[in-house]
Amino acid sequence: MEIQTALDALGGWLVQTDIGLGLLLLVGLSMSLSHVFTLLANRLNRRQIIVHLILDGLMLSVAFLLSSTIDMVLLATSASVTIHPSDFINGVAVCLLPAVFYLLVAAPYVGETIGLGIWVLMHLNVITLLHARFALPYGEALLLATPGYVVAVLLVWLLFRQGWQAGYSTLASQLSDAHGS
């Protein structure tokens, strides 16, 4: 009976958070697509690439969900603000909208600047959300939003760094196999 109640609550929560979760998924997929060339650098075949893209997209969505959860916990503990998780995630997901265009980070040379711009925009959006919705001063909003943001940046960086390192290893092994250096 308890399990059924919990499942009902989870179902209700998921329905209420549909916009937020959908947006997070979209952001995750866009980020995953921006690094599709990592997968090509690793010489994966088409099916492996598709599977990796979906898995990476899901992992990145979870990373942002985790980041939002940290914000929510900090908000509840430090600022004594209580908020329904679905409302908060719906709000945060809208702040992450610029990342829907993260796909453009794949562009050579200008990509990293676009990425930097998107990350800064996302952080500013979340700070503004905390300021506007919970009437927190900007300084406090910045302090509360930063830990979750740092976790998200670290997770995304780790995921992509690992992919590129593996790609360079593939290149290095081909070079050493063929040319003995």
């Binding site: 090509l40 010489r43 453009l104 794949a106 050579p108 200008v110 990509g111 290149l171 196999d177 040319h179």
Partner: protein
């Protein structure tokens, strides 16, 4: 003695007068140009206002900006596709890295191979006439033990020209046709800019630390194949010099370390009017010689566009190579990036060729010494 000083004073006076009148002329032309431009802009704005109101113009400008913001990265991403499809083996033609050089002994007596990598104006294997004349002069002045390798397409990794590129051949052929045959000069200009934009993107890919390694490796395989055809063999005491003009300097920096390992030979770089990132591994190269023009704004822009060359980042590959003092800088007074004051113009052609030959031979002398 007094007569001579009077004569030189008069000459200085005449030169100053000439400079002043030239400056006056430039100011006059600028003033007239600005006036005409403002008049023109005003009329265009009035015409636009008669059709649209300010809200429409504002919207149009925003959408155009957004379109550019999306189009530029999209073109870059499309350009990457070929490199990675080639790397994946989805396109035929990736050379077998174990069979780049024939097993036969070297067919030529050359000790040094100078590979020329052209700037972003390169469209096909044949160089433009002014570049061909420059290379002819360079070839004459190199010593007989040195072989000049030209006609390499530095901006395609495929063994085919851009006009035969799978997927985009139709586009390039049409663009080349527009550039050469269209009666309207503006259309010709836009087509030329688009072709060059493709090469600029390749320079961007080469300098990008994510994509650069794979593209540079593919290009170095292509260069190694060509070197094998002209008689180069690894471990035979031969050496390779990459001579790069403008964006060709970036491609040279990109391929140099790979080529050193593939060819198992010393590799050095001579760049002139080079626009490059210096992001690549450069420590193991024999030498890098930069020939720059004192009036070259494009090469100067390269130093701003690529933060890795800024002294603010002492751990960048470029600054590390600078510390190893394997970089030499030579300046040619009054030389610009292109045009009548450029390196291929008659005015500076000989000076640039002399500097390149000196750079190559000084290394020979160093090795012998």
């Amino acid at each position: 003695m007094q007569k001579r000083s009077q004569a030189s004073y008069a000459a200085i006076q005449a030169q100053q007068h000439g400079l002043r009148s030239r400056l006056g002329f430039v100011v006059l032309v600028l003033a007239v140009g600005l006036g005409v431009s403002w008049f023109g802009v005003g009329h265009v704005l009035l015409a636009l206002r008669s059709i649209f109101d300010w809200t429409d113009i504002n919207l149009l400008l925003r959408w155009s900006g957004l379109l550019l913001l999306v189009l530029i990265p999209t073109a870059g991403i499309y350009s990457l596709v070929t490199q990675f499809a080639f790397w994946e083996g989805w396109l035929d033609g990736l050379p077998d890295p174990t069979a780049l050089f024939p097993d036969s002994p070297p067919v030529s007596e050359h000790r040094c191979f100078v590979v020329y990598l052209d700037g972003i104006h390169q469209l096909e294997r044949d160089h433009p006439p002014r570049v061909s004349a420059f290379l002819g002069l360079l070839d004459q002045q190199l010593n007989p033990a040195t072989r000049l390798v030209k006609g390499l397409e530095a901006y395609t990794v495929l063994p085919v020209a851009l006009a035969q590129d799978i997927g985009s051949a139709w586009f390039w052929r049409r663009l080349f046709a527009l550039q050469e045959d269209h009666p309207n000069g503006w259309i010709q200009l836009i087509a030329a800019v688009l072709v060059q934009a493709n090469n600029v993107i390749k320079v961007g890919i080469s300098s990008d630390h994510r994509y650069g390694p794979i593209m540079n490796y593919e290009l170095s395989l292509k260069i190694a194949l060509r070197l094998g055809e002209v008689g180069f063999r690894p471990d035979q005491g031969q050496r390779v010099v990459l001579v790069g003009y403008s964006g060709g300097a970036e491609m040279a920096m990109g391929v140099a370390d790979y080529l050193r390992r593939i060819c198992r030979a010393p590799v050095s770089i001579v760049s002139f009017c080079g626009v490059f990132s210096g992001n690549q591994l450069l420590n193991q190269l024999s030498k890098i010689t930069m020939i720059i023009g004192s009036r070259d704004p494009v090469a100067a822009f390269g130093r701003i566009a690529y933060p890795g060359r800024s002294p603010l980042l002492p751990l960048s590959n470029w600054n590390r190579a600078l510390k190893h003092s394997c970089i030499e800088r030579r300046e040619i007074k009054g030389m610009n990036h292109n045009g009548l004051q450029g390196p291929f113009a008659e005015l500076h052609r000989q000076a640039v060729v002399d500097q390149i030959v000196q750079a190559i031979e000084s290394e020979d002398a160093g090795a012998l010494g």
